[in-house]
C-alpha cells in the first residue's frame, strides 16, 4: 500500500498505525480505553517476575515441583498466572545432563502469562533461524558455555503449548528465602538462553 505523506514528520509506519487506529475506532470496532488497559497490563502487571516466582517455589518445594512437572498450567495457576499465551503450559527442567532452550521458529510464540512479552531478539530472524540448528553457538553468544558432552534439547513452539524452562538452582543458596532465590532467576534463564545468577560469581544478565 502506498501513502502520499512524504512531507510529513511521521514515518510511513507511524502513519499506517495511526490510520488503522483512527479508522477502527471511528467505525466502532475498538473501545479506545481498552487499548490503554492492554498496554498497561503488559507494561506493569505481567512480566518475568511471574515466572521467577514459579521457579523459586519449584526450588524450595519438591511437592510443588512435582505438580508443576505433572501439570504446569494448573500449578502456575496456583499463583493466579493464567490466560493469554499461557493456556497450555509445560515446564521443562534443566539437569546436570540436559539443558533446555525454547524458540518459536515460525513466529514468536512465548509464554506471556509467566514471562510477559518477548524481547526483540527472541522474535528476530537470527535467533529463530539458528536456535534449532546451532543452539550451542547461540548460547555462546549469550555468554553461556555448556560442557561439550551436555545434551541440549530445543523446544520449538509449533503449537499452542508454551514452555517454561526451570533453570538449575545455583549452588550455595541453601536456606535462601523464596524472594532471594527469585531474584536469581533471570528471564533468559527461563527461556534457556541463560542460567540462573550464580551468587558467588554474580554477572549482570538479562
Amino acid at each position: 500500500m502506498s501513502h502520499d505523506h512524504d512531507h510529513s514528520d511521521l514515518s510511513d509506519i507511524e502513519l499506517r498505525v495511526r490510520a488503522l487506529e483512527t479508522l477502527l475506532t471511528e467505525k466502532g470496532y475498538i473501545d479506545p480505553p481498552a487499548l490503554e488497559a492492554l498496554i498497561e497490563t503488559y507494561e506493569t502487571k505481567i512480566g518475568p517476575k511471574n515466572g521467577a516466582t514459579v521457579v523459586a517455589r519449584t526450588w524450595v518445594d519438591p511437592e510443588y515441583r512435582d505438580r508443576l512437572l505433572e501439570d504446569a498450567t494448573a500449578a502456575i495457576a496456583e499463583f493466579g498466572f493464567t490466560g493469554r499465551q499461557g493456556e497450555h503450559m509445560v515446564a521443562v527442567e534443566n539437569t546436570d545432563e540436559t539443558h533446555n532452550m525454547v524458540v518459536c521458529t515460525l513466529c514468536s510464540c512465548y509464554p506471556w502469562s509467566v514471562l510477559g512479552l518477548p524481547p526483540v531478539w527472541y522474535k528476530s530472524a537470527p535467533y529463530r533461524s539458528r536456535a534449532v540448528s546451532d543452539p550451542r553457538g547461540v548460547l555462546e553468544e549469550f555468554g553461556v558455555r555448556l560442557p561439550q558432552g551436555k545434551h541440549i534439547r530445543v523446544w520449538d513452539s509449533t503449537a499452542e503449548v508454551r514452555y517454561l524452562v526451570i533453570p538449575q538452582r545455583p549452588l550455595g543458596t541453601d536456606g535462601w528465602s523464596e524472594d532471594g532465590l527469585a531474584a536469581l532467576v533471570t528471564r533468559d534463564s527461563m527461556i534457556g538462553t541463560g542460567l540462573a545468577i550464580d551468587p558467588l560469581h554474580k554477572e549482570p544478565t538479562a
Binding site: 490510520a19 477502527l24 471511528e26 481498552a34 497450555h88 524458540v103 521458529t105 512479552l117 520449538d156
Partner: protein, 219 residues
C-alpha cells in the same frame, strides 16, 4: 506455506542482537500496533491462526525487512481489508468512507483483565481415539502446502518418537482458512538433531516439536 516466516535452519542472518534496556515497546506506534492488534483479535472476526497466516503471507522481502510490530501492522491491514472491515482506500486516506460492518463483539475496557486472564484455550473434546501412542516412531510428512501450516520445513520428512500426547487441539491448517477448527490429536515429538541436520551435526542435540496427527505417518 513456505514463507519467510519459516526460519528454522536458515543461514546468514548474523549474530543475535540483544539490547541493554529491552523495552517492550520502542516507540509510541509500537504500543498502538500491539494494542489494536489484540483488540481486533478479541472481536472474533478472525482466528489467531488466520492472523499468523496474514503475517507469513507478506512478501518475503517485506517480511524480512520489517520490524516485529511492522509485520503485525501489515498483517492487520490485510485482515481488516479481507474481512471487509475497512477498504484499502480508507486506510490510504485514514478516513471512514463506507459504513462499519457489524462485528461479533467489541473488547470493552472493563473486560480486558478478564479476557486476558481467561485466554483462549485450544484443547477440544476427544471424539476419536489417538492414532499413535507414546513411544511410537513416526515420520513427518513430506508436504509443501501453499496454505498455513505449523510443520516447519526443517522438520518435514523426518523420523521422530512420540514422547507425550497433549490431547486434541484446534488444527491451525484448517482454522487459518475459515474451514473450522477440525480438532486433531497433538503430539510432542522428539527428533535427534542428527536426523534433521545430518551426521556431521551436534550429536548432543535433540529437538522437541508439537505436531498434529495429520502431519504424521507411522515410521
Amino acid at each position: 506455506m513456505n514463507g519467510a516466516q519459516d526460519l528454522g535452519g536458515q543461514m546468514g542472518f548474523g549474530p543475535i542482537e540483544t539490547e541493554k534496556d529491552e523495552l517492550n515497546f520502542h516507540a509510541g506506534w509500537e504500543e498502538r500496533a500491539f494494542a489494536i492488534t489484540l483488540a481486533m483479535g478479541a472481536t472474533g472476526t478472525w482466528t489467531l491462526d488466520a492472523s499468523r497466516h496474514a503475517r507469513e503471507a507478506l512478501h518475503p522481502a517485506d517480511y524480512l525487512s520489517s520490524s516485529y510490530y511492522e509485520i503485525w501492522t501489515k498483517g492487520l491491514e490485510r485482515l481488516v481489508v479481507t474481512h471487509g472491515l475497512a477498504t484499502d482506500e480508507e486506510l490510504k486516506q485514514a478516513k471512514v468512507l463506507v459504513p462499519a460492518k457489524p462485528i461479533k463483539r467489541v473488547l470493552k475496557v472493563e473486560d480486558v483483565a478478564d479476557v486476558l486472564a481467561k485466554g483462549a484455550p485450544v484443547d477440544r473434546p476427544r471424539q476419536q481415539a489417538a492414532r499413535y501412542r507414546v513411544g511410537d516412531r513416526v515420520h513427518t510428512k513430506r508436504m509443501h502446502p501453499v496454505t498455513h501450516t505449523r510443520l516447519p520445513r526443517y522438520a518435514r520428512d523426518v523420523a521422530g518418537r512420540i514422547e507425550v500426547i497433549h490431547g486434541v487441539h484446534v488444527f491451525p491448517d484448517a482454522n487459518a482458512h475459515d474451514k473450522g477448527e477440525q480438532p486433531a490429536w497433538l503430539y510432542g515429538i522428539a527428533f535427534k538433531g542428527t536426523d534433521i541436520w545430518g551426521p556431521d551435526s551436534d550429536p548432543n542435540l535433540s529437538l522437541r516439536l508439537d505436531l498434529w496427527e495429520p502431519y504424521l505417518d507411522l515410521a
